[in-house]
Subunit: 461 residues, 2 copies
């Protein structure tokens, strides 16, 4: 027999019960918080038309698509010619939840409210090189407001995102910060520094690396990208003199950009976000960072990124993208969203031991099976306990108690309920606490009460 | 601008908020019931190796696979030759949750308990022709016991499946029945009727249609499949004389099959299932149907199928498949499972109006925005109410109250909280019940209490 590979595909993961529970713990909090902010759930198919996916994030984005092969006659037809990869495929797996949202808004405009606040928690797929913490199938937790031009949308989203982190045990400002910027502010700064429009993107990509490579690194990067020396010097001077306190940052920028319509609008929007978000949990976490660029070129307004102290890379981010939805319905529809880095958060929670101890939801009680004759009694007992709300397993076949106890321990079941012919005759059940190796004979009617007190005490201890 | 198609792909669906809520309502019940029976959650990737998927259900099964195109150099290499569809693809989307379970059991045997009881609720994909109620992406709710040879496993699974249906509002025996049979019983019957082994499968497929085409239809079908007349007559005679009461069915079969080892084992197992499952919610629903075959050839023991009265087609089914897991690890591992037809159940619940009325979990309160100056106050009020557990939306920008109320109604928000300069000065909030068109001015501290009483009353009414 040849060896069969049973590991999941590269970059993909199986989630065994304990993994699923931890993921659900986080997702439950995300859902509860997002719906308290008035967001509603949406789900879309894993597969989308290839044309829906292509060209939304440039060529680099297109390379990340898992393409689904055409079938039957359509496939045979293209195989007759000299097919390329887009000829062979007619669908692809979604690589994010934003493009599907844009498609949904275009498709169901008549049914959806004018302002659509949705959250969506589903897997996405990227044909990327797998690495530590980088998967080919991973879960995204997105929250977006579609249809609002005012930065109220940003405030709601930042508050909701920050609240999720608070509920997971992170202190705003202490354990995490949210860096905030505005694409139009960035563009104004580049323009005022004297960077030619065609080099703007290149300069901003360099500046965005400030965190990783420092001011000197950025200087080198600007030079190697051919940015004119004078413009580069001016940018670097502003970089070096950026203060920490948001109000001072705003004042300094006002001085640089006074008179630029784009710059002033951006500054006013940022000031408003800082003011209104102060009402919620994002307040203590917000930092104004005029050099944050975020990679994706589709952002058109405020942008933000979550950083967890002591953890490299972002744990979430987002911003305003007023043009994407329009690509599907031919009319500009403002939108703004935030994507929480669920996979990274799970890693951090695990590393820092931040999962609560009571996550276990495996069975609590094993009803043993004494003999075939008593099987019906064991099944009845199990049913009765389930009706009372306990999670109960029944041992599958008659066997020595020692074997049945070992099975329970292997499945991490705390209590065994023993029902042999003597107990049956006396109308009792023996309840054994397998962890403490103690047991007690209890009247059949009292089993539920005994379990309730024992299992609750267990949770408290 | 060319018309962009924004509908989901054929056979795939977008789930808008109300759809998601209804799906979650059912899924929550499934999860709660299955974990009360000691099943634990598992999740596996959407994509599997092509070789994992191929050949598990014959050629017909292979045709249902959505293949994922190879990428980069690997693709170019095969395009140089004369590629077929399996050369072009290196992965496919899972078409069920049973093959991934078998793979997982083989892969993680050292970590998993000897008996693995798992449930798994995830989408599967089939490149089938879409039709009413038949989708290309749909959700499966599977529950399986791996590692138990005794029919205790069947009893647990039948009880858990039946309990889900009860919790959804279906009465066992009244609204639904579970037809039960055994593959080895079927085979014994075919053998005793004198059907040559090579025609067994063909004969059983014909007999399985009894429900749809009646005894005469089966007779024709047997004839057209070339089953010898004498054998066919014997089968038809048994078919005609099958009683309704399980005990009588068993007695009748005993008479026919007495002495056949296979037949007797099957009858003993069926009798045991009927006896033990009587302890749980499946009891009143179980019907012995010696002619139930179920399509999939991988079943090896008891098989069962759920029928909802007044609804054609099955709403779930399953059975024992002791050989599948072994295909991945070279050793026979017994297994038995049940798959609930979630999509069909959703249709039936909708048709019969069985969804509870309180499913709505959209925002309950809209905090209005009087002016930019008062925006911070509105955001603070919203945050305060969210902390108290309410689902709250804030109107995005200052505007006439009429417009804000219309927005609330469109989003089905029941209460508007008005906070203008006069209310602010008096330390109050005006709470408006938009359905009743009544409003009341309440002290800021009393808003939570007012909402609690109003929104609870709403649920009760």
């Amino acid at each position: 027999m040849t060896k069969i590979i049973t590991a999941p595909l590269s970059g993909m993961r199986d989630f065994l019960p304990q993994d699923v529970r931890r993921r659900r713990y986080v997702i439950d909090i995300v859902e509860q918080v997002y719906s308290s902010y008035g967001f509603e759930p949406l789900e879309t198919p894993v597969m989308e038309r290839l044309e829906t996916l292509l060209g939304k994030y440039g060529e680099e984005g297109d390379q990340l698509i898992f393409r689904v092969l055409k079938r039957g006659a359509k496939l045979e037809q293209v195989l007759g010619g000299r097919p390329g990869e887009n000829d062979l495929a007619d669908a692809g797996l979604r690589y994010d939840l934003t493009v599907p949202l844009a498609r949904v808004v275009a498709e169901y405009r008549a049914q959806l409210p004018r302002v659509f606040k949705r959250y969506q928690i589903q897997p996405v797929f990227r044909a990327d090189r797998p690495a530590k913490g980088r998967f080919r199938e991973f879960c995204q937790c997105d929250v977006d407001v579609v249809g609002i031009r005012s930065v109220s949308a940003e405030c709601e989203i930042l508050s909701a995102g920050a609240e999720v982190l608070c509920k997971l045990g992170f202190e705003p400002g202490e354990d995490f910060v949210i860096r905030l910027n505005h694409r139009r502010l960035l563009r104004s700064l580049a323009k005022h520094a004297g960077i030619p429009p065609f080099q703007e993107e290149a300069a901003l990509v360099a500046v965005d690396k400030l965190d990783k490579i420092g001011v000197e690194g950025v200087a080198e990067e600007l030079h190697s990208r051919g940015i004119p020396q004078e413009a580069s010097d001016r940018l670097l001077e502003w970089l070096r003199s950026t203060p920490d306190v948001p109000a001072e940052v705003l004042a300094g920028l006002e001085e640089i950009l006074g008179g630029s319509a784009d710059g002033e609008t951006a500054l006013a929007e940022l000031a408003r976000i800082l003011k209104l978000a102060a009402a919620g949990p994002a307040g203590p976490a917000l930092r104004l960072d005029p050099w944050l660029a975020r990679g994706l070129s589709y952002y058109t307004g405020p942008i933000f990124e979550v950083e967890i102290r002591g953890f490299a890379g972002s744990a979430g981010g987002g911003g305003r993208y007023d043009d994407l939805v329009g690509m599907f319905c031919g009319e500009q529809i403002p939108a703004c969203g935030f994507s929480l880095g669920l996979e990274r958060l799970l890693l951090i929670l695990e590393e820092r031991n931040l999962f609560p101890s009571g996550l276990e939801d495996g069975p609590q009680v094993l009803v043993t099976l004494f003999s075939d004759e008593l099987a019906l009694d064991s099944f009845r007992l199990a049913q009765d306990l389930r009706r009372q709300g306990f999670r109960v397993d029944v041992f599958p076949e008659p066997g020595r108690y020692g074997k049945q106890f070992r099975y329970a321990e292997q499945r991490r079941i705390r209590i065994a309920a023993l029902l042999g012919p003597e107990e049956k005759a006396r109308g009792t059940v023996i309840l054994r606490d397998l962890a403490r190796r103690e047991q007690e004979e209890v009247s059949a009617a009292g089993v539920g009460d005994w379990l309730r007190s024992r299992l609750t005490g267990d949770l408290e201890s």
